[in-house]
């Protein structure tokens, strides 16, 4: 399988199964449309006839020769040899927790998928003992895995910050005994950040996600406080303080774009102008009936915006003013292994969410869907049948994914989105797929442009 596309003046050829990416000229790009494997040494007559007149016979033959060489080197129309691994997809150790330390929030964001923080089940804070039980659960269920991840999530985790500190201390106290390495992360709306929490986060958290949507009017329209006032003025100075003190450790300022700001590249650049260089601005997840929801009608505008963003990023990078946009991050040389790419995020299998009551769900986006509850850390129970269902969900168990060129980059997409918007965890959500493919095309094009 190959994927060819033209973007920003570049003709790009992706050989899906090998992962090889080639930059080709226009002749080559046109010639490819006539080729189907297996290739023979001689250029097909149909291609010669169709291109004759616009290109010299010698050029066509030379170009075909180069393509044929890629083919024999396994870099064009390469075979799919991964299905064998998909058959071996079994339950894995649990290695990552999304710990819902607070089902309460001091913002009332209009697009919140968590029903403004309580996930539809009442405002609650996780007791420290439940947090410790979650750590015990992870220590036990991670078996031989050394690197363990705990993301403090909400709601707003800083509303239960003493518990965050105690859970971190408890986990650290077990690292040596169990031979584990905990990596903590936290996702916050920033309102409650102070010197103490900034110090703690910068000391203990391997990554911190700071929520902000960009320009003040964009942010404050949707990220409002309980009294309806905006959050921008309060959080920006705190984020700056945190990032400045953080040194070169990972962080993201992370926004959501909606139908209200389809010109979201302005928000990305605004965040950069505020001094941030690790930026993620992502499409809202919402039912199509919501007024702010993205729909397929918005795709042309969003695609144009991603293209604009990618062109500007190239220009800034070349001028020495580049910054990192999360969704265009792509390591063509040293990304994750093919095995990892077959089933992606690992939700419900190696990654689960734990609520303030200690209930286990496949991930944070499943929380509150009673049918998908998988167990409890309080009783150390885990529904292995459900876990197995997620373990076996991979790009080869999804017909749409099997036929898609982007499958090794998105790994089948988000199971929660698939369930909520397409009706099944094995049925990809088309809108998400279209956005993902566009971002990948832009990300690969950026690599091409920066290789010159």
């Amino acid at each position: 399988m190959i994927h060819t596309y033209e973007l920003n003046g570049y003709h790009i050829l992706l050989d899906v199964n090998s992962g090889a990416v080639h930059l080709v000229d226009k002749l080559c790009f046109e010639l490819l449309s006539f080729l189907t494997p297996p290739l023979s040494e001689r250029c097909p007559d149909a291609a010669l006839a169709a291109l004759d007149g616009r290109y010299s016979k010698a050029d066509i033959a030379a170009c075909y020769g180069e393509l044929y060489r890629l083919y024999t080197d396994g870099l064009l129309f390469s075979e799919d040899s991964y299905a064998q691994f998909a058959d071996q997809m079994v339950s894995s150790p649990v290695k990552a927790l999304c710990l819902h330390i607070a089902h309460d929030c001091n913002l009332r964001c209009s697009y919140c998928f968590a029903s403004t923080g309580d996930f539809g089940a009442g405002r609650k804070l996780m007791p420290v003992e439940t947090g410790k039980k979650a750590i015990d659960f992870l220590l036990k269920r991670s078996y031989g895995r050394r690197n363990l991840e705990v993301d403090f999530f909400g709601g707003e985790p800083l509303m239960n910050f003493d518990a965050v500190k105690e859970v971190v201390a408890y986990a650290r106290s077990k690292e040596a005994e169990y031979g584990k390495n905990f990596r903590f992360t936290i996702t916050t709306n920033g309102l409650l950040l102070n010197d103490d929490s900034i110090d703690f986060i910068n000391r203990e958290m391997s990554n911190v996600v700071l929520s902000i949507d960009g320009r003040q009017e964009v942010n404050d329209r949707v990220r409002a406080r309980v009294d309806g006032s905006g959050s921008y003025d309060a959080i920006v100075p705190k984020y700056r303080r945190l990032v400045e003190a953080r040194g070169d450790r990972d962080y993201y300022v992370r926004g959501t774009f909606t139908k209200y700001n389809l010109d979201f590249s302005k928000d990305v650049f605004h965040l950069n102008e505020l001094g941030f260089d690790q930026i993620s601005v992502e499409p809202v997840v919402a039912p199509e009936t919501a007024p702010y929801a993205l729909t397929e009608d918005d795709l042309p505008a969003i695609f144009a915006e991603y293209e604009k963003l990618s062109r500007e990023l190239i220009a800034r990078e070349k001028a020495g003013r580049g910054f990192n946009f999360f969704h265009f991050m792509l390591d063509l040389d040293q990304g994750p292994c093919a095995i990892k790419r077959l089933r992606g995020c690992g939700c419900g299998n190696e990654y689960v969410a734990v609520t303030p009551d200690g209930d286990i769900y496949p991930c944070h986006q499943f929380v509150g869907m009673e049918d998908w509850k998988m167990g409890s850390v309080l009783t150390d129970t885990l529904d292995l049948e459900k876990k197995d269902l997620f373990a076996r969900t991979n790009i080869y168990s999804k017909p749409e994914c099997q036929a898609c060129w982007a499958k090794f980059y998105c790994s089948g997409g988000c199971s929660a989105n698939s369930l909520q918007y397409a009706g099944s965890i094995t049925k990809p959500h088309r809108l998400s797929c279209e956005l993902e493919k566009k971002r990948l095309e832009c990300a690969i094009m950026i690599k091409a442009a920066l290789s010159e």
Partner: protein, 46 residues
Amino acid sequence: MKHIKTLNKANLKESAAKGGCGECQASCQSACKTSCTVANQKCEKK
């Protein structure tokens, strides 16, 4: 080559041979939490 510039080779095939250790970051824990991108994760072995 005159008509083709290869940006990267068959890394995916090579990675399958030694992959699957499971020590890398769960992709949803990085920044997204809502939109899956796996190919931007780092391999722990490299």
